[in-house]
């Protein structure tokens, strides 16, 4: 498996009202083809910004991001993103929002079947005609994931996609994502603040520091799928990540197992 995404010496600054804020500092890591990578970090450390840069949505960056050895300079067909705030088009119903994810190259005759397949996959049968406002946050998130998946991208960027879901739906969606990842051999980059989720889903966890986001540690999770959440090895990895967050605080004790 080759390297599909390379992030090299990336810095990101935003200027608001003449004041320049450093958001990301010296980010370096690779993602191999077919790898599941999670990015964890506290809120505001630049996780969404990093994902948007990989997606080609940020125009000015320092450093280099390569996908298949080509520098990213705009959104690409092979890389799709499910945004943190779902971002459904409020005037389109579920069916048409998911259909928006289809590329123009997909012939009309195949569209209907594809849309129905993905509505089914995210468990929204019967809600085809519902407007985004009529859905719960979790349902909106699922529409957003279906919209990103339907164009069958090689690389899927997921920005806290399960944050608004209840525990049960979340576990189901995590399983679904793993299934898609395995079956279709996709590369997944997931942003999350849920450490358990990161360990459960990924081969590799990138831990970012507080603002400006720097890489604190990159942890390989050497566990076979499906991972057993209660197992001793599983707990070892979650603890390793917790330690990075709470290394200088008394909280560590709470998480000692």
């Amino acid at each position: 498996m080759g390297t599909i995404v390379q992030i090299k010496n990336v810095n990101k600054k935003f200027t608001i009202d003449g004041e320049t804020k450093e958001i990301l500092n010296d980010i370096n890591f690779d993602v191999r083809e077919g790898e599941f990578v999670s990015i964890v970090g506290s809120s505001g450390c630049g996780k969404s910004t990093l994902l948007k840069m990989i997606a080609g949505l940020e125009s000015t960056i320092e450093g280099e991001i390569l996908i298949n050895d080509n520098a990213v300079n705009g959104p690409a067909l092979e890389c799709k993103m499910a945004f943190q705030e779902a971002r459904l088009l409020p005037w389109r119903n579920v069916y048409k929002n998911i259909g928006f994810g289809l590329d123009k190259s997909v012939p009309k005759s195949e569209r209907d079947e594809l849309i129905k397949k993905y509505i089914n996959m995210v468990g929204l049968n019967g809600f085809e005609n519902a407007l985004p406002k009529q859905l719960s946050g979790g349902m909106q998130q699922r529409v957003s994931i279906a919209r990103a998946l339907i164009s069958n991208p090689n690389i899927l960027l997921l920005d806290e996609p399960f944050g608004a879901l209840d525990a049960l739906t979340r576990i189901n969606m995590q399983r679904e994502i793993l299934k898609i990842w395995k079956q279709e051999n996709k590369t997944m980059i997931l942003v999350t603040h849920d450490i358990e989720e990161a360990v459960y889903l990924s081969n590799k966890v990138v831990i970012l520091s507080e603002r400006p986001g720097r890489i604190k540690k990159i942890l390989n999770i050497d566990l076979a799928y499906p991972k057993i959440r209660g197992s001793k090895d599983f707990a070892y990895y979650t603890k390793e990540i917790y330690k990075e967050f709470f290394e200088d605080s008394e909280h560590e004790i709470d998480y000692a197992i």
């Binding site: 080609g56 067909l77 799709k80 088009l89």
Partner: protein
Amino acid sequence: MIKKKIRSFVRSKSWLGIILPVGLILIWQLASNLELINASLLPSPARIWRSLVKQAESGKLAVNILVSLRRVLVGYALGASLGIVIGIITGLSKTATKIVSVLFELIRPIPIIAWVPVLILWTGIGETSKIIVIMIGTFWTVYLNTSDGIRNVDRKYVEVSKIFLKSKKIEITKVMFPAALPGIFTGLRVGVGSAWISVIGAELIAASAGLGFMISYYREMAQPSTMFAGVLVVGVIGFLINVILRRVEKRVLKWNTVK
């Protein structure tokens, strides 16, 4: 069905709005009967109603209404289309906004009615001058609301369009335009009001048919009750146009209002 509608009407307290106009008409009629009002300045409601019926029966009223409505329809359609197109262009491009800014800011404060003599001079007393006046009246509100609406579209939706590699055309027509539609509709609704005001104004000044003509003609003929009948019809039609447009708006923007 009808019973249900009546019940919901009673419950919604919409009927409270009727009290004031009905009360006013009653007082007005009473004052006229007691000869407290000079009938040559303000005829009684009953007298105005009789003139209205007479105009309707003679067929003149329908002709005047149709002439005015036709002018509004054509002028409004042209002015609104132009307002939307130029509004989208300036909403998308800061350069375009800068190019038109000085010219537009100079022309915009000119009251619509001031255009009437100018346009009569240029195009004569025919339909063209009236339709252009209505166009101008409609254009400004639609243009301003469209331009603002497009300019303020949430960047987040544009990013969605970009990540799914949509063409610029799709981005504008399928993402930015619908996102700006609530604002554009406000412009369309206010614009139809200005269109109606413009047509009556233009017809008051120079016309041989239409509701504005009817009003000024019967003033000259010293038939105040018929003149007031014209004023009444202008008001009622303006009211109805607003009601219709609100209905359309509610339907088109269901996604924006639904809970």
